[in-house]
Amino acid sequence: MASGDILVDVRGVAKHYGEGETRVDALRSVDLRVHVGEVIALLGPSGSGKTTLLNVIGCILAPTAGRVELDGDAVFDGKWLRSDLRRLRLDKIGFIFQAHNLLPFLTAEENVSVVLDLAGWPAERGRERARELLDYLEVGHRAKVKPALLSGGEAQRVAIARALANRPRIILADEPTAALDSGRAQLVMDLLRKLASDQKACIIAVTHDEKIFDRFDRLIHLRDGRLVDS
């Protein structure tokens, strides 16, 4: 693939916590490239560094060493302020959580349009985009319902709609199917694959769900902070 197709470029990234005897190396010289349209899974036992890597790619955690490029922008190079990283997250990264993490005081439609509101979209356009996404994910009929009244599958689809609202090119998912039954998990993964292709985005998901492994282009294994194979 051409280098212009690379959305996530992680080179020699290390992250450690503490110093001396208490030092913990969460990531050790990790290299990872993810291309447009790719759907990859981060696998590994607990404490292997999956979540740390997701946090570094998500601009939540600064690496101790190494270089991270997201959609051509080199982040954590000392020039980025916290507010710049926040803006980058808003514009380029979409998050899908294990527990859908919808805001309980907003309706499904508002949970999606809140991202666009924060991004500065006009309110009406934001609502239109939210309805469009909810219809696309087949939960449009639940647009005015609050999360407490949505089923697990509906809530997860609303969360996916929220993650896609601002047309991000990088979608990070933390156990996106953990709260779903097998059938629904397959549907959600098919949906994510289609979205990655349609929106020319990439998807990086942390998962333990073996039933959906076949839905990923690559399985990245982490152990003790290192990439084992890919």
Binding site: I60, R86, F97, Q98, A99, A123, K146, R162
Partner: protein
């Protein structure tokens, strides 16, 4: 999209209950402010009622409110003749208990000379004293109505008019009677006691005494000169209206005023802590949601706005409920509750300040939240 309003509407019942609780606390704060003001206003009402410029009292006393004062009733003529005096009136004060409709009324009886200084400034209902005996003007708080009669001492008086906000510093409502009736009331004893005194040979006549003589001066007359002149008489002393008011506040109501003031301070501190605790708890309950907002890219100002707006809405709603409640119940208090727009304005300022400071604690906690906590472990 206003997240603060959306969140409030989501948990409206709980928020309204919290506002109601805060409102009740504000009602108590406002009641204390009103009682504090009422104490001062009540104390000053009786001094201000005669609209006098100078008070002539017994030498060596700070009468008639801070100390007992007794001067000959004829002093009024001497004062009235002094240069610069427009008019003067003798006045007496005494507290008595009287039975009315099966209840004991504690009354502050003011004796004055109709047509001279010393009477009420305004009659709210009915008419002034038209006869020289057995008529009275009553403060509304006595519960007496025009046309009713009440026994004071050995005589029955008819209520001919009602006045408002006339009471002594202890909160006893006032009744106005003629000076002649007041003097009789001061000296009259029941027949049995009078017979005992007469048998002991104490039947001689004493000159009538009054508590004070109040004088109004002609335009341009010098108050200081007049009071200095009066003080030259060895048995008399004189105070200007301002001195009388200061004396009353400094001696009679000062301790009560400081007591209420201190209690008000404690109450405001408690309110501040309660508000801070409510806002902090409200914020802590939303930390996961705040982490999610931060993760999806919400700027700090959105998070700060969410907390500060809710804190201000809570504070203002509580204050509004407090104001509404106090205006509903203030007339039910046994003592006057006086609330000025200035008090409400100052309390609004204090509550807004407390809300901002309290939300600062919540904001600090919210800004420290790591967005990664939304992702889980």
């Amino acid at each position: 999209m206003n997240l603060a309003i959306k969140d409030i509407r989501h948990g409206l019942f709980r928020f309204v209950l919290t506002c109601l609780g805060l409102g009740l606390l504000m009602t108590v704060v406002l009641a204390m402010i009103g009682i504090y003001n009422g104490l001062v206003a009540d104390a000053l009402a009786v001094v201000k009622a005669p609209a006098a410029d100078v008070w002539v009292v017994e030498a060596g006393t700070q009468g008639p409110f801070a100390e007992a004062s007794s001067i000959p009733a004829t002093t009024r003529d001497a004062v009235a003749r002094m240069p610069g005096v427009a008019e003067a009136g003798a006045i007496t004060y005494q507290t008595i208990e009287a039975s009315h409709a099966g209840k004991t009324l504690r009354l502050y009886v003011i004796g004055f000379e109709p047509g001279r200084p010393g009477g009420p400034q305004r009659i709210a209902e009915g008419r002034g004293l038209g006869r020289s005996h057995f008529e009275l003007l009553s403060d509304r708080k006595t519960g007496l109505v025009a046309g009713e009669t009440i026994r004071l001492g050995r005589d029955r008086f008819t209520v001919v008019g009602l006045v408002e906000d006339a009471m002594n510093s202890g909160g006893d409502p006032a009744v106005y009677v003629t000076l002649a009736d007041a003097l009789t009331l001061q000296t009259a004893m029941d027949p049995a006691a009078a017979r005992v005194q007469a048998a002991r040979g104490d039947g001689g006549l004493r000159p009538p005494t009054v508590a004070a003589v109040v004088a109004r001066l002609q335009p341009g007359a010098d108050v200081a000169l007049l009071t200095a002149t009066v003080r030259q008489w060895k048995h008399l002393s004189a105070l200007s209206q301002g001195e009388q008011e200061q004396l009353l506040l400094a001696s009679v109501v000062d301790r009560a005023r400081r007591q209420i003031g201190l209690f008000l301070g404690i109450l405001l501190s408690v309110s501040a802590v309660v508000i801070a605790l409510i806002i902090y708890t409200m914020t802590m309950e939303k930390l996961k949601q705040i982490a999610t907002l931060k993760l999806i890219g919400a700027p700090d100002r959105t998070i700060v706005g969410l907390i500060v707006q809710q804190a201000l809405i809570l504070g203002i709603s509580g204050l509004a409920i407090g104001l509404a409640l106090i205006f509903l119940v203030k007339d039910s208090f046994p003592r006057r509750v006086v609330l000025e727009p200035f008090n409400a304005l100052v309390l609004t300022g204090i509550i807004l300040m407390v809300c901002l400071v309290a939300s600062g604690l919540g904001v600090r906690a919210a800004l420290k939240v790591d967005p990664a906590t939304a992702l889980g472990g």
